[in-house]
Symmetry: none
DNA sequence: CGATAACCGAGACGGTACGTCCCGTCTTCTC
DNA sequence: GAGAAGACGGGACGTACCGTCTCGGTTATCG
C-alpha cells in the first residue's frame, strides 16, 4: 500500500467531498514531481501520482490531457525553473558560463535524467511536446537569442549572424550528447563549442 | 487421417511445430519494421509484432531484450542503412551535402519520425540506448569524424580542431531541431550550420 | 452536455438559485419516470435523472433514500396507478378479468419490464422493497383479498379459505412467469389458474 | 489425473505464467460462491472475486460473460444442487414434502437470500436469466411436472390438468412471497397451497 | 529410418495501468 | 437560505499489454 505523508500534521481523515481546487492541484503536482525525480518517466504513472497525492485519478484526468503534461507540470513544481542569464559585456564569457551551468545541471542533478526522459516521452506525446516547447525550450531559446542579439548590437558579433542556428549549435550540441550519449557531456566540451564558433562569429 | 487440409487453400495456417530459426527471425523483423513505419513507437507492441509475424511472443522474448531493441532491428531490416559518405576534395561541399541529405531523410521520409521515437524510447530503455549507439549513431559519427580528419590532413582545416565537437555542432544541431521542434529543420538551416562553423575551422 | 427540455418555453439556461421545492420534485420525478421507461433499471442513474431534470444530485439525495425509491416514485408519476377492481356478482369472472388485465399490463406495455426490474432491484435494496410493498403490492393484495372476502360473504366461496394464499396462487403464479420466464405469460394461463383453483374453493 | 504434485510447502507463491485452466476455474468458482454467501449480490464484485481467488480479472472476463453468470456458477459450486424428488404413491404427501423442503431451504439457509438476489439480478442481466432458466429453474420445474404426470397416470389426479400451471401455483406462489415479502413464507403456507389446489385437481 | 528431443505456435496466466462511469459527499456561487 | 453546479475521494468497470509459463504438435537430428 502506498503510504505517503509528507506533512505529519495533516494525519488522516480528509473529507470525501470537494476540496479547494488549488490545494488539490498543488498536492497532485508535488506528488507528480517527487515521483518523477524518484523513478523517472518509466514508473511515472497516473495511478501512482493519484495514490501519493491522495487524490482520485478522475481529478487528474480532468486537468491534464496526458501523462506527459502532468509530468512536465510536476517537474516545474519541484525544480524551480531558473531562467536568469547573466549579461556582462563579454559575450564569450556569458555564453560559456551559461553553457557550463547547463552542463552541470543536466550532469550533476536529477534534472538531467528527467529532462531527457521528458523529451523522450514528447516524441510520442504531442501534447507534451507542445507544452515542453511553449514552457521550457521556447523561453530558454528566446533568452539565448536575446543575449546574442545584444552582443551583435554592441558590435561584439557580426551583424549578419543567424542567432537561432547558433543556439542550436551550442545548446543543441549539448542536448545531442545528453540524448545520444556516444560521448560524455563535459565542461570542456561546452567550452570547445564556444571556441569552435566564436572565431567565425566575430 | 480424419482431417486433411491441403496447403493451398489454407495459406494462412502454418504448421505449429518447429520452424527454422532464421526464417522466424526474418519474419519477425519484417513485421516489426513494417509495424514501426506504420504506427510509430506508440502502437508498436510486441503483441502486434508477434501477431503480424505469425510468431509467438515467447520467441520474441528469447531473442530481443526489450521492445526498443526489437524496434531498432526491425527498422534496420526495412530501412536499409546507407552509410555512404562522399569524400571529394571540398570539405565544405562534403559536409553540406551530407547534412542536407540527412535533413531530407528525416523530413521527407517516415524515417524521421521513427528515428526520433527510437531516440525517445532509448531515454528509458538502456538496452535500446546501447544498441542505438553501437549500431546507428556510433558508426555515423565515426564516418563524419573520419571525413573531418582527412580534411585536416589535407590542410583544409586547422589541425587542432576537436572533430567530435564539430560533429555535435552539425548533426547534433539538426537532431536538436528534430527532437525539440521549436524551429523547423530546413535545408537552409543545414547550410547555415556549416557556414557558421567553417570560418573558425579553417 | 445533457440537454433535456420537455417544455419548449424553458429552453436552456435556468437560474442557479433557489426554486420552489414542489416544482423541483415534480421535474425530478418526471425525469425519473421517463428515464425508467426509456432505459430500464440498468441505465437508470441518479446522475442521469439529475441531468435530465436540470437538478442537482444533492437535491435528490435529500429526498430519496436510494436509487430504487426514486425509481419507484418516478414510475408512479408517469404510469398512473389504476387500482380499480370491478366487483360484479360473479367471482370467477371478476378474478379472471382482473388477472387477464394484469397479464396484458405486464406483457403489452413497458410496465412489465419496469415492474420486474423494480422487484429485481428490491432484492438488494431494502428501502425500495419496503416502499414497494407499502405502496404497490400491499394495496393491490388488499384489494384482491377484499374481493375474495366479499365472495365468501356472498356464499360463492367456502368460508374457511385462506384468501391470502389464494392471491399468491393467482397473482404470484403470474409474477413467477414474469420474473422467471421459463414459460410465457399468456391470457390462457391466467384463465387456467382460476380454473385450477375454483373447483376446490367453491 | 496424471500428475499430482503435493507440494504443500509452497502454498503462497504461485507462478506468473499459465496454470491448469481447471484449477484456476475451480478457485475462481469457490471464491465466487463464498463471496456470494458472505456478502450477497450487492458487494459481489468481479474485482473481489479475482482478489480472493488470486486470479486476474482478465481470466474471469474470458470465461464468464457477466457478473451474474459468475455468481450463478459460484453458487452451484458452493451449494451442491440437490435435485432429488421423492416419489411415493401419495401425490399429496410428495408435493407437500417437496414444497416444505423448499420453504426451509430459502428460509433457514443463506440460499434463500442468494436465490432471490440472483433472480433479482437476472431482471437486468439477460445472460444470467438464460443461464438461470436453463440450469436451475428449468430442471426443477421439469422434475415437478414429471411427478405430477406420474400421478395423473396413476389416476390420482384428473388427466386434463395443465401440470405447468400447477407448478406455478405451488412453487411460484412461494417465490412470490420470497421476492415480494408482503407476507411471511411459512411451512403452513406451503401446506395450504397444496390444500387449496388438490380439491380441484382430483 | 524411425524414435526422440528441440523448439515453435498458441494462448492462458497473474499483473499493472489505463481511461470511464457512477457513487455519495462537500463547497461555492447564484438567485 | 435553498438549490444548481460541479469537483472531490473512492471503487469497480472492461481493455490492452506485459512478461511468464504450459501445452500440443512438428521437424530436424541422431541412434
Amino acid at each position: 500500500m502506498a503510504e505517503f505523508t509528507p506533512d505529519a500534521q495533516t494525519p488522516a481523515r480528509r473529507g470525501r467531498g470537494r476540496r479547494p481546487a488549488d490545494q488539490v492541484r498543488a498536492e497532485i503536482l508535488t506528488a507528480a514531481g517527487e515521483l518523477l525525480l524518484a523513478e523517472g518517466m518509466a514508473g511515472f504513472t497516473i495511478e501512482k501520482v493519484a495514490a501519493h497525492a491522495g487524490a482520485s485519478r478522475m481529478t487528474i484526468y480532468k486537468w491534464w490531457p496526458s501523462k506527459g503534461a502532468l509530468a512536465l507540470d510536476g517537474y516545474f513544481t519541484v525544480v524551480a525553473p531558473t531562467l536568469a542569464f547573466a549579461d556582462t559585456a563579454d559575450i564569450v564569457a556569458d555564453l560559456t558560463n551559461q553553457l557550463v551551468a547547463f552542463v552541470h545541471l543536466v550532469r550533476d542533478t536529477t534534472a538531467g535524467r528527467v529532462i531527457s526522459q521528458l523529451i523522450g516521452q514528447a516524441q510520442t506525446d504531442p501534447e507534451l511536446a507542445a507544452a515542453y516547447r511553449e514552457r521550457y525550450s521556447g523561453p530558454r531559446r528566446a533568452l539565448a537569442v536575446e543575449t546574442l542579439t545584444r552582443a551583435m548590437a554592441r558590435g561584439q558579433l557580426r551583424p549578419d549572424i543567424d542567432s537561432e542556428s547558433v543556439v542550436d549549435q551550442l545548446w543543441g550540441a549539448c542536448y545531442h550528447r545528453l540524448l545520444i550519449a556516444d560521448l560524455p557531456l563535459t565542461e570542456d566540451f561546452a567550452r570547445t563549442l564556444v571556441d569552435n564558433l566564436i572565431r567565425g562569429l566575430r
